[in-house]
C-alpha cells in the first residue's frame, strides 16, 4: 500500500525523530510513503497574519503538487500541518470558484480531490498488523495526549470524537499498553504562536498536562504532534520550575512507542534526541481477566 | 415447430382452451397473428425468429374473450404484457395459458402468473439494442436538434391511432383522445394536436410500457413513436427502479412515491 507523505518543516529539523520513527514504523507496516515532490511550508499559524489568501495559497500548492503526483491521500504526521492542509482541502473540496482563484495564485490547477490524513487516522487502519508485529508487549501505563489540532474543529479533522478521543488509546492498546483515563487529552499545550514569544504562558499550560499525566501514574506521555512534543519535552525545565517539581516523565511520539513495541532500534527511532531522557520501567506483569458468570441464588 | 402445433392441437382437442393465439405465415414472408380454434387451424401455427409481434393486445378484445379460454404463443414482450395486464386487473389470474417455445424447440406451458413471472425474470429486456442505441443517439443531440427531429417526424402523423390499437396496454374502452367534454386534444391531425397526442400516449405508458415496439411497427407512415413510450418507461426505471411487466401485482411507479425521491428542478 502507498500513500502521499508530507513531512512538513519541523520534521526535517526540530522534530526529526518524529520523521525517523514514522518512516521506520511505516516500513514495518509495509506502507510506502511517497514524499510530495518539492512540498513547501504550510504556513502554520503565521501565514494568516499576512492574510487569508496567502495562507490558503501556501496550503493549496502542496495539495496541487500531491494531485499532480497522482496521490489522492496524503499523510501529514505533524498535527499543525495536518490541520492546515486538511482545512484547506475541506475549504476547497466543494468550492469551484475558490479553487479557480487559488489555482491562479499558485499557478497550477487543483481539482479538490486530495484527502489529508493525520498519523492516527493512518495507524488506525493498521491496528491488527500492529498487534501482530508487536515483539515486546508495551505493557506500560501511558497517557495518550492528542492536543488541539488532531481533533478540532470537527468539520476539518473529520476524525475521532472531539472530546475524549479514542483512536490513539486503541492504537497503543494494540501493543499491550494501558492508556490511562485522564482529562487533559485535548487540553492545549500553548503552542499557537507562543512557543517562542510567550514562554511563561506555555510553561503554565503545558505544566498542567505534565502534572495530570504524572498524577495518573503514566510512565510516558504519547503524542502525535511536534508542537506538543516540543513544549512538553523541550520546555520541561521551565515547566518543572513553574510547578516546583521534578517531573521526568518522557514524551514519546506515537510512532516511537510503536517502534519500541515492534523492537526497532531506539537509535533509529531517534530517542536519543529527546531532552527528557527516555527511560521506561519494566513492563507491568500480564493480568489474566476472567468474566464472571451471571447471578444464581 | 411441430411440437408447438401438436401442443396446440392437443389443447384444443382436450378442450383445455378454445383458442390458441399465435403466429402464421403472412404475405411476403411476414408473420401475422393466427387464431387457431380447431385442430386444423393448429396446423397453420408457426414459430421462428420473425415472430416478434406482441399478441397480448388481443387478449383484452371482447371478440376474443367471447371465444372462451385462450392459449397464447408468447415471446418475451408478450409475457411481460401478460403480467402487466394481470397487474392492472385486465386479465384474471390464470385466465390465459402462455406457450413459450424454448431454444431447444420444446414448448413450456405457463399456466399462472407465478410461472410467467419466473420465466420473465430469466429474460433480457425487451428494448432492442438497436432502439437503445437510437435513444442514446437522440439524447446526444442538442435540445433544438431533438425538437426539430420530433417536429419532422410527428407532423407526418395522420392520427390513424394504429399505434393505439396495436398497443397491448392501450385497452381503455374510451381513451382521453375520445373525451370531448372537455375536448382535451383536437380531433383533426395537425402539428399541435399530434404533439399533444403523442405526449399523452407516452405519459400514459410511462411505468406501464413493456417496450415491445408494437406501436412503432404499426405506424403506417413509419414514425418511430415507440421510442417515446420506451424512453418514458426507461425514465421511470432509471428514476424509480420500478420496471413494468415484471410482476402480476400492482406496482405502478406513478401511483406510488418515496419521500426522498430526488429531483433537481423544483425551486
Amino acid at each position: 500500500m502507498r500513500i502521499g507523505y508530507y513531512p512538513g518543516c519541523s520534521l526535517t529539523s526540530s522534530a526529526r525523530e518524529y520523521d525517523e520513527s514514522v518512516r521506520a514504523v511505516c516500513e514495518m507496516l509495509d506502507l510506502t510513503l511517497v514524499e510530495i515532490p518539492d512540498w513547501n511550508c504550510c504556513g502554520a499559524s503565521s501565514a494568516h497574519v499576512a492574510g487569508a489568501e496567502l495562507a490558503l495559497g501556501l496550503r493549496a500548492r502542496n495539495l496541487a503538487l500531491a494531485e499532480a503526483a497522482g496521490l489522492d491521500e496524503i499523510l501529514a504526521p505533524c498535527a499543525a500541518c495536518f490541520n492546515r492542509l486538511a482545512s484547506a482541502s475541506v475549504e476547497l473540496a466543494d468550492a469551484p470558484d475558490k479553487r479557480q482563484a487559488v489555482s491562479e495564485v499558485i499557478g497550477m490547477p487543483y481539482s479538490g480531490k486530495v484527502r489529508v490524513l493525520n498519523m492516527l487516522a493512518v495507524l488506525e487502519r493498521f491496528k491488527d498488523q500492529i498487534a501482530a508485529k508487536t515483539e515486546q508487549s508495551f505493557r506500560h501505563k501511558v497517557a495518550c495526549y492528542y492536543g488541539c489540532l488532531l481533533v478540532r474543529p470537527t468539520k476539518v479533522a473529520q476524525f475521532d470524537r472531539v472530546e475524549d478521543p479514542q483512536s490513539m488509546d486503541q492504537i497503543m492498546a494494540a501493543t499491550g499498553a494501558k492508556p490511562v483515563r485522564w482529562s487533559s487529552k485535548t487540553e492545549c499545550c500553548g503552542t499557537g504562536l507562543s512557543t517562542i514569544t510567550r514562554t511563561e504562558l506555555v510553561a503554565n499550560l503545558s505544566g498542567r498536562i505534565v502534572a495530570d499525566a504524572a498524577k495518573r501514574e503514566a510512565v510516558a506521555i504519547i503524542t502525535a504532534c511536534p508542537m506538543c512534543q516540543t513544549n512538553l519535552d523541550m520546555r520541561r525545565p521551565e515547566i518543572n520550575q513553574k510547578l516546583q517539581q521534578k517531573h521526568r516523565i518522557p514524551v514519546l511520539y506515537v510512532t516511537q512507542a510503536l517502534g519500541l513495541a515492534m523492537g526497532i532500534d531506539p537509535q533509529r527511532l531517534g530517542l536519543q534526541r529527546h531532552m527528557v531522557p527516555v527511560e521506561l520501567p519494566e513492563p507491568e506483569p500480564e493480568v489474566v481477566t476472567t468474566d464472571d458468570d451471571d447471578d444464581e441464588d | 415447430m411441430d411440437v408447438l402445433r401438436n401442443k396446440a392441437r392437443d389443447l384444443l382437442a382436450q378442450g383445455q382452451v378454445q383458442v390458441v393465439i399465435g403466429y402464421e405465415a403472412g404475405t411476403s414472408g411476414a408473420r401475422r397473428p393466427s387464431f387457431a380454434r380447431s385442430e386444423a387451424d393448429a396446423a397453420r401455427l408457426m414459430w421462428d425468429a420473425d415472430c416478434v409481434g406482441n399478441l397480448a393486445g388481443y387478449l383484452t378484445r371482447p371478440e376474443i374473450k367471447k371465444m372462451g379460454k385462450a392459449a397464447i404463443v408468447a415471446n418475451a414482450a408478450t409475457l411481460r404484457a401478460l403480467l402487466q395486464l394481470t397487474a392492472e386487473h385486465q386479465l384474471a389470474e390464470g385466465a390465459v395459458l402462455a406457450l413459450v417455445v424454448t431454444e431447444e424447440g420444446a414448448v413450456l406451458e405457463l399456466s399462472n402468473a407465478q410461472a410467467v413471472t419466473e420465466q420473465v425474470a430469466t429474460l433480457p429486456s425487451s428494448l432492442s439494442a438497436a432502439d437503445r442505441e437510437k435513444l442514446e443517439r437522440l439524447m446526444a443531440l442538442s435540445r433544438e436538434e431533438r425538437r426539430a427531429f420530433w417536429e419532422q417526424e410527428l407532423q407526418r402523423c395522420v392520427k390513424c391511432y394504429a399505434c393505439r390499437s396495436s398497443c397491448p396496454m392501450c385497452y381503455c374502452g374510451s381513451c382521453t383522445m375520445d373525451c370531448n367534454r372537455p375536448q382535451w386534444v383536437p380531433v383533426a391531425s395537425h402539428e399541435l394536436g399530434n404533439l399533444e397526442y403523442h405526449t399523452v400516449r407516452a405519459m400514459h405508458l410511462a411505468g406501464r410500457c413493456v417496450q415491445c415496439g408494437e406501436c412503432g411497427r404499426a405506424c403506417p407512415v413509419g414514425i418511430p413513436i415507440h421510442l417515446l413510450t420506451c424512453y418514458a418507461e426507461e425514465s421511470v426505471r432509471r428514476q424509480f427502479g420500478q420496471p413494468a411487466g415484471t410482476s402480476a401485482t400492482l406496482n405502478y411507479a406513478l401511483g406510488n412515491f418515496r419521500p426522498d425521491d430526488q429531483e433537481s428542478f423544483i425551486r
Binding site: 470524537r161 472531539v162 472530546e163 475524549d164 483515563r181 482529562s183 451471571d294 447471578d295 444464581e296 441464588d297 | 392492472e88 386487473h89 385486465q90 385497452y171 381503455c172 374502452g173 374510451s174 381513451c175 382521453t176 373525451c179 367534454r181 372537455p182 382535451w184 400514459h204 400492482l250 405502478y252 406513478l254 401511483g255 406510488n256
Partner: protein, 663 residues
C-alpha cells in the same frame, strides 16, 4: 345559456386604489353568459350581501361571481349569502382581486386588465359549476386518547365526564407518564404523586373509560368521525381478570438485575414487575427479554407463587380493532440522555445525571426514599452543579429550541437539595432565566434569596473527573467571562426535552404533520393550537413542544372540549368537493377500465372497487369506487386517470379546462 351575476368589490380603497373597479364591472357586463354586473364599496358587509341576494331574485341569476378579497377569506360568507337567496351555495365563485391583484401591483391599465382576466376566469368556471349538497357523515361517538401521562389522563377524564366513551392507550405497563416520576412540582412544591394518583384511580374506575396499558396503536384508518384503529395489546403474561395485585410473584423472581426504567436506570428491578408502588393498574408484567423462563427455558417461581394462578406464560399479543370519532395525541416527550454531551464525558461519569434522574432521587418513592445520593458511591453530595440549557438552545450540538421547563425545575432541584441537606452547596450555570408564569419568577427568586442557591451566568465548557470529584469548568459572563472552576460531587444536566421515541412512526400512522424537530404540528400556531393538520385528531401536552404541567392540563382540557363538541353531533357535514367515478349507460357503465392504478395514489385509502353485475349476479365490469366519506378532494387520482373517468367536484376537468381557455 347561463345567467350569471358578477359583483365587484372596492374593498374601500384596498382594491379601488389600484384597480379601476367600475371599469371592471362595466367590462363584465359584456362577457357571454353574464346577465348582471355591478360594483360596490364593501360586498362582505350586510348591505353588500343583500345587494347580491336582491340581484339574484331580480335577474333570476343561476350563478354568481364575487370579485373581492381572497376566497380563503370570504368564500363561506358569500356562499351563505347566495344560498340564502335560494341558489345552491356552490354556484358561487370568488375572484381574488385584492391579495392577488390590487395589493401586489401598481395602479396601471395592466392591473385592471388582470382584474378583468381574473373575473373572466371565474365566470367561465361558474358556468360549469354544478349544484352540490354537503355530505352528511355519521359520527362514531367515542374517542381514543393516545398516551397515559397527565395530558392523556386529563383529556380522557374530561371527555368521559361529558358522557362519551373513551379508550385510553398507554404504551408502558402503567398510567402516569413522566409526572409519576417527579418528586415535588414547581412552583408550589406539592408532591407530584399525591396530586396525580387520585386522577389515575379515577381513570381506572370511570365507567366511560376503557384503559389499555402495555398497548400501542398499530394502525389507523378512516377520517374525522369515523376512525378505525387497530391496537396491539401486548402480552403481560398475566391474566388481568385473575390477578389480585397481591405481589407474591414479585418477591419470588430470581432475576434481580434488570435496569429499572421508571427509576431512570438508578435501580434494578425483577423480570416480573410493577413499575411503581402506586401503579394503575396494579398488575405485574413479565419482561420476556430478561425472564429466565424465556431466555433459559427454565424457572416458573412466579407461577408457583401466584395464589390465583394468574400467570400465563403462553399469553399472546392481541390486536383489538376499535372505531372512534376523534383521537387525542398525548404522547409526551423524552429527555436527551447524558451520552449526547461530549464535553460532559459522553455519559461516562456516573455522577453526571439528568434532571429526571434527580427527580427520582428526590422522590420519596424513589430508589433512595428521597435522600439525594450520588450513583457512583451512594454518598450524599455536598456540592451539586446544575447545568441549565444542556442541549437546548444549542444549534451546534443539541436542539435550537428552548425546552421551557428546565429553568423552573432546575430552581426546584437546587431548592430541594438545600431543603434536604442544609449544608449542601448548589450552583446553577444558566444562559438566561426564563420564569414567565404565575408565581414562577417569585419561585426562582426564593431559590436564590432564601435558599442561597448560587446562580452563575455562563456556560460550562468541560467536566472531568479528578480524585473522585467532578471538575466543572465554566465561565462567569457577569465577571467578564472569568473562568470558574467548581469541584462538584454531582452534576445535574437540565437536558433538552425531545419528541418521545416512536413519535415519528405514530405521526405517519395518523397522517398528522410534524415540525422540523419531530414534535406534532398544530393546525394553526395561534388560532388552532390543539388541533392537528388532520381533521378529528387533536393534541395535548409535550408531544407538541415542551411544556409544564399547568399548561399541559389546560391544553388537555381544551382538546377534550374540542372532542366533545365534535362528538355532541350525530352527523358531520363535509364539503362536497370530492372525487367521483363517472357512470355511463350500459354496456360501458363507466369510462373507468378498472385498472385501479389510482388505488395506491390516494392518500386516504378512499378508493376501492365495485362490481357491476347482471341480475344473475355475473360480474359484467369492475370499476374503481371512491368513498365520499374518506375522500378529502385532493384530486391526485383525477390527474392520474387515463380515461378521465374520475372527476373532482368543484375542480372538474371541464371547469379547469375552461379557466385555462378563458385566458
Amino acid at each position: 345559456m347561463s345567467r350569471l351575476g358578477v359583483f365587484v368589490c372596492h374593498c374601500g380603497e384596498n382594491i379601488g386604489a389600484t384597480v379601476d373597479v367600475t371599469e371592471v364591472a362595466e367590462r363584465c357586463k359584456h362577457m357571454s353568459g353574464v346577465a348582471h354586473a355591478e360594483d360596490y364599496k364593501y360586498l362582505c358587509s350586510n348591505p353588500g350581501q343583500n345587494k347580491i341576494k336582491q340581484a339574484i331574485q331580480e335577474h333570476q341569476l343561476d350563478g354568481v361571481v364575487v370579485a373581492a378579497c381572497s376566497p380563503r377569506m370570504h368564500e363561506p360568507t358569500f356562499r351563505r349569502a347566495v344560498s340564502d337567496a335560494g341558489l345552491n351555495a356552490y354556484m358561487c365563485e370568488v375572484a381574488n382581486l385584492r391579495e392577488h391583484c390590487s395589493w401586489v401591483h401598481q395602479k396601471a391599465d395592466s392591473t385592471t386588465e388582470k382584474a378583468v382576466d381574473l373575473v373572466r376566469l371565474q365566470v367561465e368556471k361558474v358556468k360549469r359549476n354544478k349544484p352540490l349538497d354537503t355530505i352528511q357523515v355519521p359520527i362514531t361517538r367515542s374517542a381514543l386518547v393516545i398516551g397515559g401521562g397527565i395530558a392523556g389522563i386529563q383529556a380522557a377524564l374530561d371527555i368521559a365526564d361529558s358522557g362519551h366513551k373513551v379508550i385510553l392507550v398507554e404504551r408502558s405497563p402503567a398510567l402516569g407518564g413522566h409526572m409519576a416520576q417527579l418528586s415535588e412540582t414547581f412552583p408550589t412544591l406539592d408532591c407530584s404523586q399525591c396530586i396525580l394518583t387520585p386522577r389515575m384511580v379515577d381513570v381506572s374506575r370511570h365507567p366511560n373509560i376503557t384503559l389499555l396499558t402495555y398497548s400501542e396503536v398499530e394502525h389507523v384508518d378512516g377520517f374525522i368521525g369515523n376512525f378505525k384503529v387497530a391496537i396491539r395489546k401486548r402480552a403481560r403474561m398475566i391474566d388481568e381478570e385473575l390477578c389480585t395485585g397481591c405481589g407474591e410473584c414479585l418477591q419470588k423472581c430470581p432475576t434481580k438485575n434488570v435496569i429499572d426504567s421508571f427509576n431512570e436506570g438508578l435501580s434494578m428491578r425483577r423480570a416480573i414487575y410493577v413499575p411503581f408502588a402506586q401503579a394503575v393498574p396494579n398488575i405485574p408484567v413479565i419482561d420476556t427479554e430478561h425472564c429466565r423462563r424465556y431466555q433459559k427455558k427454565k424457572c416458573d417461581r412466579c407461577a408457583k407463587a401466584c395464589p390465583t394462578k394468574a400467570i400465563k406464560f403462553d399469553q399472546k399479543d392481541e390486536i383489538l380493532n376499535v372505531e372512534v370519532g376523534a383521537i387525542v395525541v398525548a404522547t409526551g416527550y423524552q429527555v436527551m440522555s447524558t451520552d449526547r454531551f461530549p464535553e460532559y464525558g459522553y455519559g461516562t461519569y456516573p455522577d453526571v445525571i439528568t434532571g429526571l434522574q434527580f427527580e427520582r432521587y428526590a422522590s420519596a418513592s424513589g430508589p433512595t426514599q428521597g435522600v439525594i445520593k450520588r450513583p457512583s458511591d451512594g454518598k450524599e453530595p455536598e456540592t451539586v452543579v446544575f447545568l441549565a440549557c444542556s442541549g437546548s438552545r444549542d444549534a451546534a450540538k443539541g436542539v435550537k429550541y428552548c425546552s421551557k421547563i428546565c429553568c423552573m425545575y432546575t430552581a426546584k432541584h437546587a431548592m430541594l437539595l438545600k431543603h434536604k441537606n442544609h449544608n449542601a452547596k448548589a450552583y446553577v450555570f444558566y444562559m438566561d432565566i426564563r420564569a414567565a408564569g404565575k408565581n414562577y419568577d417569585e419561585f426562582v427568586r426564593r431559590a436564590i434569596e432564601e435558599d442561597g442557591v448560587k446562580y452563575i451566568r455562563g456556560r460550562v465548557s468541560r467536566i472531568y473527573e479528578e480524585d473522585g470529584k467532578l471538575i466543572v469548568k465554566g465561565a462567569d459572563t457577569l465577571l467578564g467571562g472569568e473562568p470558574v472552576q467548581i469541584k462538584a460531587d454531582m452534576v445535574v444536566l437540565a437536558s433538552a426535552a425531545l419528541p418521545n421515541h416512536g413519535q415519528g412512526e405514530l405521526a405517519q400512522k395518523l397522517h398528522v404533520g410534524t415540525d422540523p424537530y419531530g414534535f406534532v404540528a398544530e393546525a394553526h400556531p395561534k388560532l388552532r393550537p390543539v388541533e392537528t393538520t388532520s381533521a378529528g385528531i387533536f393534541l395535548a401536552g409535550a408531544c407538541q413542544s415542551p411544556r409544564d404541567i399547568p399548561e399541559t392540563v389546560g391544553q388537555a382540557s381544551a382538546a377534550a372540549a374540542k372532542v366533545t363538541a365534535l362528538l355532541s353531533r350525530s352527523h358531520l357535514a363535509r364539503e362536497p368537493l370530492v372525487a367521483e367515478v363517472n357512470r355511463r349507460p350500459a354496456p360501458e357503465y363507466s369510462t373507468c377500465t378498472g385498472c385501479l392504478l389510482c388505488e395506491t395514489a390516494c392518500p386516504y385509502q378512499a378508493i376501492g372497487h365495485e362490481d357491476i353485475k347482471d341480475r344473475n349476479g355475473n360480474v359484467l365490469k369492475t370499476l374503481a369506487k371512491i368513498n365520499p366519506g374518506l375522500c378529502q378532494g385532493c384530486g391526485t387520482c383525477v390527474s392520474l386517470c387515463r380515461t378521465k373517468a374520475i372527476d373532482l367536484h368543484g375542480y372538474s376537468n371541464e371547469q379547469v379546462f375552461a379557466e385555462i381557455m378563458s385566458l
